[in-house]
């Protein structure tokens, strides 16, 4: 009897503890978020999930400072004549001396960063129509999808300009199981698409975004607004594959109609508020806020507030909010002598002081330690990182006018930014020929947008890479020796080796 008794107790204990169904207690998962109807999984269970993801998309830029900002400066400034590789090492020096290989790990993180953002955007685009929550209105669905398309276009625009042929992904691949693996493999391991198709997709996304995205909000330039789409369209139509200068002019003009204009004081874009505004910045007089956000010139920017600041600033010079933080000569990029000479050739250019700053440091590498040049456009952790501003698009209009033969019109635009910088109008001779106006234009763009991630792409777009870059090594004595000469194959950068290893369907760009 006893045996039975004992056994039945044991059995009961075992049965009582029988369940292996343990749902997560500390994390959200399929259990809390999953909606499955007719074996179709829905990514967003309700409107709140959509809004949460929309916020994720809006945060991408500020949370992706490496590939959206820091590396773009390396790529466009150190890889052009504007800057040196601030702290020479095997990852950054190749940009300066033109010896970038697929093994470069900055390239890899940029590729993966951009691609991950594409997937974030696609998740919204692909799933928003399936959200079963009726409180999510049709208008909201269309708007959020439009915003995500603008985002996707913005990312692909950077990628296609860096690498040319990249995989075009507009879907979210399905679950991987042993049954589905053959079916989903091509979606996870896609081949590249040619650049023209990518551009066409970008155009399509922007045109749709333009239709349904919200209007520009002068109080919040961190939104994917219609104006962001217009600015991007202007830039896209200036590029070779879809080049259409009428459209560049059209969208530049529409931006003006949206209320965009040059700020009167160039320093409004980059300046900070110091504890004591009457004293120069110092350890005792730190910055406490950005001078301005959401200026009328800013089209799209990442914003940072006290308590939730950008981290990238220390990569360039001093953080005016934390004077000694990682301050050494070794920085991510260091303004080049060639750039400084360009500024010095225009006496009184107010932009110079906003672009380059000199501090004393403990070492002499590119410059003597007692007067060492640093990038100054990002100077505190509260500074916004401006991805697109009106001056860029306005000048693009000048480029379009030049290409269309209206040199005078172009000169007028160039004079707008020159006058704001405290310079006089261009001499009449500048608009005498296409070559002279184009040179004046390129120089103006260089000075206006220096160290903002534009220079390399300007040279590529206008086929100036070989001419400018193969000459700069002789002109600029601070620059180390060139490894490979720039050729037509230099216009695209190598596909990262690790990405190629990961996805055997990718093909390396020629020349690498």
């Amino acid at each position: 009897m006893k045996t039975k008794y004992i056994l039945s107790i044991l059995f009961a204990c075992l049965l009582a503890s029988c369940s292996l169904d343990y749902d997560p207690v500390g994390i959200y998962s399929d259990v809390t978020e999953g909606v499955e109807t007719d074996s179709v999984r829905i990514a967003f269970k309700d409107k709140a999930a959509v809004l949460s993801h929309r916020q994720t998309l809006l945060n991408l830029f500020k949370n992706g400072q490496e590939h959206w900002y820091v590396d773009m400066l390396l790529l466009s400034e150190s890889h052009s004549d504007n800057a040196y590789a601030g702290a020479p090492n095997a990852e950054t020096t190749p940009f300066e001396v033109n010896s970038i290989e697929g093994s470069n790990t900055n390239m890899k993180r940029d590729w993966n960063g951009h691609m991950a953002n594409i997937a974030h955007a696609n998740r919204m685009i692909v799933n928003i129509d399936k959200v079963p929550d009726p409180s999510l209105t049709e208008a909201e669905r269309i708007q959020y999808k439009a915003e995500a398309k603008i985002l996707r276009a913005m990312i692909y625009f950077d990628m296609v300009r860096i690498w040319g042929n990249v995989p075009l992904i507009t879907t979210i691949a399905g679950d991987i199981t042993s049954e589905t693996i053959a079916e989903v493999y091509p979606a996870y391991f896609p081949p590249q698409t040619d650049a023209l198709t990518i551009y066409t997709q970008i155009e399509e996304d922007l045109l749709e975004g333009l239709q349904y995205a919200p209007n520009n909000n002068p109080e919040d330039k961190a939104q994917f607004s219609k104006s962001v789409a217009r600015a991007l369209l202007a830039k896209v139509y200036a590029e070779k594959p879809l080049r259409d200068y009428d459209k560049v002019i059209k969208y530049a003009d529409e931006l003006a109609a949206d209320g965009f204009a040059l700020v009167d004081d160039f320093s409004d874009l980059f300046e900070v508020v110091l504890t004591d505004p009457n004293l120069p910045p110092s350890q005792q007089n730190p910055a406490i806020e950005a001078k301005a956000r959401n200026t009328k010139e800013s089209i799209f920017e990442a914003q940072f507030f006290p308590g939730n600041t950008n981290w990238a600033t220390w990569m360039f010079g001093r953080k005016l909010d934390d004077w000694t933080f990682y301050f050494t000569w070794a920085k991510w990029i260091t303004p080049s002598r060639d750039l400084i000479r360009a500024f010095n050739s225009e006496q009184g250019d107010k932009r110079y002081d906003q672009t380059v700053v000199f501090y004393e440091c403990e070492w002499s590498i590119y410059y003597p330690m007692n007067n060492y040049a640093f990038m100054y456009k990002c100077r505190s952790a509260y500074n916004s990182i401006i991805k697109m501003r009106y001056a860029d698009i306005l000048l693009l209009k000048a480029e379009a006018l030049i290409q269309k033969g209206d040199y005078g019109g172009a000169a007028q635009i160039i004079n707008q930014t020159r006058r704001r910088a405290g310079l006089s109008n261009l001499p009449a001779s500048a608009s005498a020929s296409k070559e002279s106006i184009l040179n004046a234009y390129l120089k103006e763009r260089r000075l206006e947008l220096a160290l903002e991630g534009q220079r390399w792409f300007d040279l590529v777009r206008l086929d100036k890479v070989e001419e400018v870059m193969n000459a700069v090594f002789d002109k600029d004595e601070g620059r180390p020796a060139q490894v490979y000469p720039y050729t037509s194959l230099s216009y695209l950068l190598p596909i990262p080796q690790d990405v190629m290893d990961q996805n055997p369907n990718l093909v390396q760009n020629p020349g690498y």
Partner: protein, 1074 residues
Amino acid sequence: MNFFYMKKAKIQLFIFFFCFIASQTFLFAQNNVSITIKQNNISVIEALQAIEKQSKMFVAYNESQLKSQKNLDLNIDNQPIENVLTQILAGTGFSYQLKDNYIVIVPERQASTQKRITGTITDENNEPVIGANILEKGTTNGTITDMDGNFTLSVENNSVLHISYIGYLTQEINTAGRNTFNIVLKEDLKTLEELVVIGYGTVRRGDITTAVSSVSLKDLDERPITSAAQAIQGKAAGVNVYQPSGAPGGEMVIRVRGTTSFNGSNEPLYVVDGIPVDNLNFLSPMDIADMQILKDASSAAIYGSRAANGVVLITTKQASAGAKIAANVQFGTSRVSNPIQSLNAAQYKALIDEIRPGTVPEGTIDQTDWFKEVYGTGITQNYQLQVSDGNDKLHYFVSGGYLDEKGILSSAFFRRFNLRSNVESQVRKWLRFGLNLSYSDNTSNNVTTGQGSNRGGVVLAVVNLPTAATIRNEETGLYNRLFFGQNITNPIEEIENGKNNKNNENRLIASGNTTITFIPELVLKTSFTLDRRNGKETGFTPPSHGADRDDWGTAWDNRTMNTLLVFDNVLTYKKTFAEKHNFEGMGGTSWTDSKWSRSYINGSHFKDGHIQTLNAANKIAWDNTGSQASEWAIMSGFGRFSYNYDSRYLFTFNMRGDGSSKLHPDHRWGYFPSFSGAWRLSSEDFMKGLAWVDDLKVRGGWGQTGNQSGVGDYAYLQRYTISREPWFETGKANALPRINPENLRTADLTWETTSQTNIGLDATLLKNRITIGMDYYYKHTADMLMYVTVPTGSAEIPSIVRNEGVMTNRGFEFSVNSHNMTGAFIWDTDFNISFNRNNLKSLELQKIYKAAQTTDAFHQTLVVRNQPGRPLGGFWGYISDGVDPETGELMYRDLNEDGRISPSDQTYIGDPNPLFTYGLTNAFSYKGFRLNIFIQGSQGNDIFNASKGDTQGMFDLKNQSVEVLRRWRTPGQITDVPKAGFNLQPSTYFVEDGSYLRVKDITLSYSFKGTLLERAGISRLQPYVTANNLLTFTKYKGMDPEVNQWGNNGAVQGIDWGTYPHSKTFVFGVNLEF
């Protein structure tokens, strides 16, 4: 009283009743008759009937009981009746009683009455054996010998004494007709009879059909061993143990027969007294009584789910009858064994002048010997005390200890308090109850190692710091951080700040078990275990302000609690039929439930360094403070059937089913069968002629085991990360957290399954002088659990845990234990050697995995590449063709001959997998002296010396090792070290032969013996000295060939990168018993 006993009692009543009737009926007979029976194949009953006939006495017996007895061949010629009865009943379990004119056949135990016996037990040298166990066979009645080897015991008349003592052969002596015994114990050279603990049971060593390694613990208490894993190193064939870091309390890596899992755990399952645990940190090696390693699937499969990497079975010392107190005290000192020498100030200046001229001013002199400042003498103290006592009903064992290891880097330490007790009680004849309690409290701290000196790595900083610099800035009193413009971790500051950090874990394992014996053959064991761990990590970096810094002070406090419940039920039936048919059947269930929770606070901005708790922090990290929780469970059913005929033909079958909550509900149950067999050739007639073969057995087996560790608790679900929104920003006062996908879901996540085939041979030769074991195995791991990354872009988070690939391991292992010399001078040699070949067979999604980011000199280039068709861990990089005498550059080979050194010129440049590993122990003893020399090594493995990038890379202003004095300086110079500032890439320049032979331990001990000690009641007084890591023979030029910065990682091995080095240790200790 249970059913089975009741039945027996009834039978006994019946017999007595029968006897009574019989005695009433037959009153005539004669006593002194002689019996003659000459007949083959006669049954016991027929024989008894013959006696009845010839003696004219009445024989009373229970026919049903005697019916099943074996038939006899009798050749009895005119023998007294007693002798005949003894002969007929021998081995039947029955005895007889002669009374007047009737004979009653009764079960044996009824036959006799108690008597008192005395005896002396000595060894072959006529020395008394103290503390030997004397047990009346089949009972719990027993005692132990005293100081002089004497014992007294009351036993049943014809009982058999079972005499055992560790290290000696067990004897059984019949007490019939004798009351005093002089027993000589023979040293145990033959181990086939000992019981070996296997999963949920025991088996005679001789009857093992699978690959089981027993770890010899003979000299364990004479070695300065602080963790159980150290005891295994080099002692078991097929088990590769190494210590990837020399840090105090440094965890050991144990690999049983190679790497089976890419990302899943490769740790074996540890089972301590039947309780699965994840590590052995809590266990003092002194408490270990027995350690077995189940290597092949057929032995491990009974632990199914978690046994793919083998099982380490540990039995702790148990209570025994007889009072005993044992103590072991150790004191040791250690020094860093193989320092790297840096350039002096003048040499440093000369070097830097080649990299950045003018940086180091003229006339700088040596100011600081960083090596001296940073490395100290490590001190280890270890005190262990054990008490046990008991009687035949109740006994207990209590042990406690304190271990304090202070590292050669002074802020690193490991401290452990351990307390363990077990109590066993025979509550009823059929019910045994046991309670095991174990509590340990570990506190440790480490320093940052395995990092470049620009990122806190102390080991490399010692080399990289210019001797021309000072520790502190004389003016400000602050620690220097910039040295001639180069940012280098100041190790003194790092150690000073790190002093405040502590990791503490206290762990209680409480386990109650009952053993119910229904009938002697049928036993149910039930145990319930609570395993609770509380972890607490705290740390504090003080604020420091100066011209070049504003550190505001940071602190953290992380606490975890982990509660594991294990409920096991095992029913065993063991029976021998007709002497030679041995059956065992076992069935059981097991249930494990885990609950884990964690809370963490991070904060910064402290007023000063006085108060380090987080109430004194002004900023609590808004996005890094919170709590978490998680749960999992495993449920299992298992069974074993084994049969052997006369220990000659042996067969075992195991089956286990496991369900895990971590796997997808549709795929969470896995079934793991195994079978094995053995044939003892030495029992066959055709082997009888070979006198030099004592025992020879061949074994073979196949089985499957599973693995699911290493995957997260809810791995099959798509999970979401939680990101906090900054509520303090304008307009975000009521913001809610955002969630984002964390992984791709795996709708078919299931068990990783390893199938293993094993063929083995065990032999004992030359009158038990030599024992040989060898095994060949082939392991095939399918559905290998992997953290797979797919290309980014198609899913937000490109990572998925899935059953992705196939990996194989095959190998051969051989061990020999030899008693070279016996007698007064004893020399024993144990040797084992293991060969393993690993191959990553196939992967489904991503085919190339790179890993191991090391020195900044390589700029995040990963140096390990894994891909199908290759063994794990291959090093990847360029082939370097030495230094170009003209330019001083290190030349790299342009493999694809495109005129450009680019990634397509990279290839495999090294293999960290050894050809073989081995261990050799020689023990000599003579008159109380004992010398033990343990050598251990690895052959044919490569090491990637990433430290060399930091100590000989010459790419910035860090100081370098004296090796760079050979650097290229003038055109035409032929040297092996390139010029300062050479183009530094991961290449064969950094790959070295990592083979080594290490004299791991040399121990000399002496056992005092004598009347003085005896009078003081001391049974053992044994002082000893040990030298640890005394000598290492290797071509490897780094600090230590045994280290691996990636520790217990399946995919990365053999990388030395500023790893905490091993040290040379000298230990003095005493073992005391009374």
